[in-house]
């Protein structure tokens, strides 16, 4: 990862605000991620958006972010949330004698199949190197739980464009993760 937040560009003041927020709540995110993963089941199945939702619920209580602020914040921290989640998964796996597989159900539009979160992370890292804006879109959609409309609004591009890009990113992920 060449850019620490995976965002590439981003306005100065907004980025600064995001950094401050993230610094303030990084530990909070970690705790949430830990809690999401803290099950004794033989196999964990989680929804990455749980993390985002929990984080937002906590953040909104702490910071009185308005709705637009929340969406923006989520979008900006989507990549970080994925990172935290993967880190926590690795930590948990290292600590347990027989680490459970941590899989996630991809949304139906991604084929409704169960995949290992680390595989998903690897695929996304690969996509980041070739087409970062597509990877970012997946993060926003999947890890921050934003709708395509919200992404369009945040990025200042048309919903039509976002829909096309999403379909392309989706096709690429399905091809990458699916049976060969």
């Amino acid at each position: 990862m060449d850019s620490p937040d995976g965002q590439g560009q981003g306005g100065g003041s907004l980025a600064a605000a995001r950094d401050a927020l993230l610094r303030a709540h990084y530990d909070e995110f970690r705790k949430v991620a830990g809690r999401v993963l803290n099950g004794d089941a033989a196999a964990l199945k989680i929804q990455p958006t749980d993390l985002a939702h929990e984080a937002v619920i906590r953040l909104s209580g702490l910071d009185r972010l308005d709705f637009k602020g929340r969406t923006h914040f989520l979008s900006l921290s989507a990549r970080v949330m994925r990172q935290i989640l993967i880190d926590e998964i690795r930590k948990m796996r290292a600590a347990k004698r027989s680490p459970p597989p941590v899989s996630t159900e991809l949304p139906p539009e991604l084929g409704a199949q169960s995949i290992d979160l680390e595989d998903l992370d690897r695929a996304l890292q690969k996509l980041e190197t070739v087409a970062p804006e597509y990877a970012k879109l997946v993060d926003q959609r999947y890890f921050a739980g934003l709708t395509l409309e919200e992404v369009a609004e945040i990025e200042g591009i048309s919903v039509r464009t976002v829909k096309r890009q999403w379909r392309a990113a989706r096709a690429w992920l399905v091809a990458e993760l699916g049976p060969r």
Partner: protein, 810 residues
């Protein structure tokens, strides 16, 4: 893998998505230009895309693999219907009966649900279960399962979101309007049960196989807000109002906003974020991606259908300010129905005259429809109050709904009432609205542990109801006794408020505003001048406690001076009255204009000038009062011309001309008088058409008639004058004899009789005049026996009758 290859493949793939089916292959071949690796990558993407598309057919959610509970509550789990942000939805079947009854079971994810919220969840669930409407998915039951996760048992709706349904079936705007009418009615039903949906969006309106829309997840937004510590309500961008986005708690007006946004989404085929908000709905249709594959003709036709009325309906529903929106979901529904019923026939739509006529007809009908919708609202609200009277309000006080009751009372008293105030022929409805709001306010003020701020608000609400019933600055309902009761109630509340405990200025202001209103009713309706005087003294004490530099102080002082001037006139203390009135005018004109209270200031100023003119008329001379009366005519005519919707403004402009005309009659300038009175009479029909049964309007009608009759007679048109006055006399007699007549009705009859007597006597018809004077005198004697005669009447009306009798009736 070659990075640029993937990039280029993604880009070609996207272009291919846009291409028509038969253009796709040539496009791919041309773009890849013989690069086999690139083409293979594009095809790999296309294949994966087809796979993903198949995995998600439009609108449907697929049953998932994964652990599924076998039972929840009394229900056997049959299948998983879907998975949402708040948890899972299953299909359950009750298997203890002869036949299986399928239900939807929504299980809230335990991690999202704090232990403390469980009790609230339980109570809320019971409230939601009371909703029963054809277009609302019924909530049957609920509970907590073995794992501690709360669940809801709901009517199973097998269907798709209304947006997908409308797109898939290619619904025309008329069908969309019909479906939205059903949805509006469902939302209205919930509002009447004091339940706000708070998260209306297309995904929450499912359409079943029969084509019936069903609103789902009523109140779930609230459940979710209670489930997280921050009390955060979920909301959907584009469908939530600016107030909600700013963090305000949900109100019925927010649901109206969402309904408008949904209507727009259905008509344009895409969600609110798809097109700029500044675009009219009809304009957005042309740019909608959902209709990109339609012919330009099709799009133009749809835009034409939506242009105008539907554009206006959506704009009103989605107005940024809550008070500019439809007052209720049912009002939105009624406009949609009006649009459905009265659309011009397309074959003739190019005929401009036809369109114009149709337009006028539609507008007129719409006013009538609007009024009937309001009637439905009031009727329904009446049911709501009855319900509330039956429930133990105190038990509910801790609930968040308490806030909603407050907001509903406010909404009724200010938004709904003001709107009805501007709608013709709604007097009975306004009376009902006031009564219903009063029910809410009584419930609020009776709550033993209501905090001071709520009590203060309830008292202010009661004052507002009293103003509606008998206030001077609006077309009142003519219910003086009820108004006095409400003021007494407000007074009792204000006594409970510790000035030290809350903002002492506002408690003093509250008490002063109650006292000046009580004083006004005591002197004007009950003719109890002593009581009015005592109340004004009380008001002065409270006003003195308020910060002298505040606007509140200035407004209350003006009010106090105006009422004091009027009391002075009743008591015959004209010199004092002149001083009070001049002081009121001075303060009111020195206030910096503020749109928030411009109307109140105007009416205070009008009453001050009126009191001044009257004091000069009686205290100095009729001739001297011409100047202040002309000032009054100037002030009121300008206002009436600038505010055609303000019926009170019109009435007061009429009354000012009447007062000037009557004065000119008295100084023997009948022709000048007739000009003023004709101008006044010309405005009367507008007033009566608007509200034939309004007490104030009737009174105005009465006095203009009487004065015109005199002016006609004095201008040499005696028979015309007698006919007019006889008509008036009949009216006054009916009023005085109706049940619930007030002393002021008796007085008004006596004055009318005296005027008719004067008309005859002045024209040397003593034989007719004398029995009429005797009748008038009898009425005043009766009033005097009950101590209901003012000094003003003793000084003028009664004395004049006696003088006339002495001269003409020996």
């Amino acid at each position: 893998m070659d990075q640029t290859l993937t990039r280029r493949a993604l880009s070609i793939f996207e272009d291919a998505l846009d291409a028509e089916d038969d253009a796709r292959e040539p496009l791919i071949s041309a773009a890849c230009a013989g690069d086999a690796a690139l083409e293979a990558e594009v095809r790999r993407l296309l294949k994966a895309d087809a796979l993903a598309e198949r995995a998600m057919p439009a609108g449907g959610l697929q049953p998932r693999e994964g652990p599924m509970p076998t039972r929840i509550g009394h229900y056997r789990i049959v299948e998983r219907l879907g998975q949402g942000g708040m948890g899972d939805v299953f299909v359950g079947a009750r298997d203890d009966g002869l036949f299986e009854h399928a239900v939807a079971i929504k299980r809230v994810r335990p991690t999202l649900f704090a232990e403390t919220a469980r009790a609230l969840f339980e109570r809320e669930r019971r409230a939601l279960a009371t909703l029963s409407h054809r277009h609302i998915a019924q909530l049957y039951d609920g509970g907590v399962d073995d794992t501690g996760a709360p669940y809801l048992i709901m009517e199973l709706v097998r269907g798709v979101g209304i947006d997908d349904y409308a797109l898939a079936r290619d619904l025309p705007p008329s069908r969309i309007a019909e479906m939205m009418i059903a949805v509006c009615e469902a939302v209205q039903h919930a509002h009447q049960n004091l339940i706000v949906h708070a998260d209306l969006k297309p995904a929450n309106i499912l359409v079943n196989q029969a084509g019936d829309p069903k609103v789902v997840d009523f109140g779930v937004a609230r459940l979710l807000s209670e489930a997280n510590e921050a009390g955060l309500y979920p909301q959907t961008p584009g469908y939530s109002s600016p107030q909600r986005e700013a963090g305000a708690a949900p109100t019925p007006a927010d649901d109206v906003f969402a309904l408008g946004a949904i209507l727009r989404a259905l008509l344009t085929g895409e969600g609110p974020r798809g097109t700029a908000h500044t675009l009219l709905t009809s304009e957005a249709i042309g740019r909608s991606m959902a209709f990109a594959d339609r012919t330009p003709e099709w799009r133009a036709a749809r835009a034409r259908d939506v242009h105008g009325d539907l554009d206006a309906i959506i704009a009103r529903a989605c107005a940024a300010q809550a008070e500019d929106r439809y007052p209720a979901a049912v009002a939105l529904a009624s406009d949609l129905r009006a649009w459905l019923d009265f659309r011009p026939i397309s074959g003739r739509s190019s005929d401009r005259l036809y369109v114009f006529k149709k337009f006028v007809r539609r507008r007129r009908l719409r006013v009538a429809v609007g009024a009937s919708a309001a009637a439905a609202l009031v009727l329904a609200l009446a049911v709501t109050t009855t319900l509330y009277a039956q429930t133990d309000f105190a038990r509910r006080e801790a609930e968040a709904r308490f806030t909603e009751v407050r907001s509903l009372a406010k909404y009724l008293l200010y938004d709904v009432y003001d709107r009805l105030d501007r709608t013709p022929q709604t007097l009975a409805m306004r009376r009902d609205v006031a009564r219903v709001a009063q029910g809410f306010l009584n419930a609020l003020s009776d709550t033993p542990s209501a905090p001071p701020a709520v009590l203060q608000e309830a008292a202010e609400g009661l004052i507002r109801v009293a103003d509606l019933q008998a206030g001077r600055s609006r077309a009142n309902l003519g219910e003086t006794e009820a108004a006095l009761e409400n003021l007494a109630r407000a007074h009792a509340i204000s006594q409970k408020l510790e000035p030290a405990a809350t903002d002492s200025d506002s408690v003093s202001a509250l008490r002063a505003s109650i006292a000046v209103r009580q004083a006004a009713i005591e002197m004007n309706s009950r003719q109890d001048l002593a009581a009015a005087g005592r109340l004004l003294d009380d008001a002065a004490v409270d006003i003195a406690r308020i910060d002298g530099a505040s606007r509140r102080h200035a407004m209350l002082t003006t009010q106090f001076e105006v009422e004091s001037a009027i009391l002075g006139n009743w008591k015959g203390e004209y010199a004092a009255s002149t001083v009070h009135a001049r002081r009121a005018i001075e303060i009111a004109t020195s206030l910096t204009p503020d749109p928030a209270d411009a109307r109140d200031v105007h009416y205070l100023l009008v009453r001050a000038w009126d009191a001044l003119a009257e004091a000069v008329y009686y205290g100095q001379s009729e001739a001297a009062s011409e100047a202040p009366y002309r000032e009054l005519v100037k002030l009121t005519s300008a206002y009436a011309a600038g505010h055609p919707e303000d019926m009170l403004g019109l009435r007061i402009a009429i009354e000012a001309r009447w007062a000037l005309g009557a004065t000119l009659l008295g100084i023997n300038r009948p022709r000048d008088a007739l000009a003023e009175l004709d101008a006044a009479a010309a405005m009367v029909p507008t007033l009566l058409d608007f509200q034939p049964d309004d007490e104030g309007a009737r009174r105005t009608h009465k006095i203009v008639l009487a004065a015109r009759a005199q002016a006609l007679a004095m201008s040499g048109r005696f028979p015309e004058g007698v006919a007019l006055l006889r008509e008036q006399l009949k009216f006054a007699t009916d009023q005085a004899q109706r049940p619930g007549a007030q002393p002021s009705d008796q007085r008004s009859l006596a004055v009318t009789l005296a005027m008719l007597g004067d008309l005859y006597a002045d024209n040397k018809r003593n034989k007719e005049a004398c029995p009429i004077y005797a009748q008038a005198d009898d009425i005043f004697k009766q009033l005097a026996a009950n101590n209901q005669v003012s000094q003003l009447d003793r000084d003028s009306a009664i004395r004049m009758i006696h003088e006339r009798q002495a001269t003409h009736c020996k």
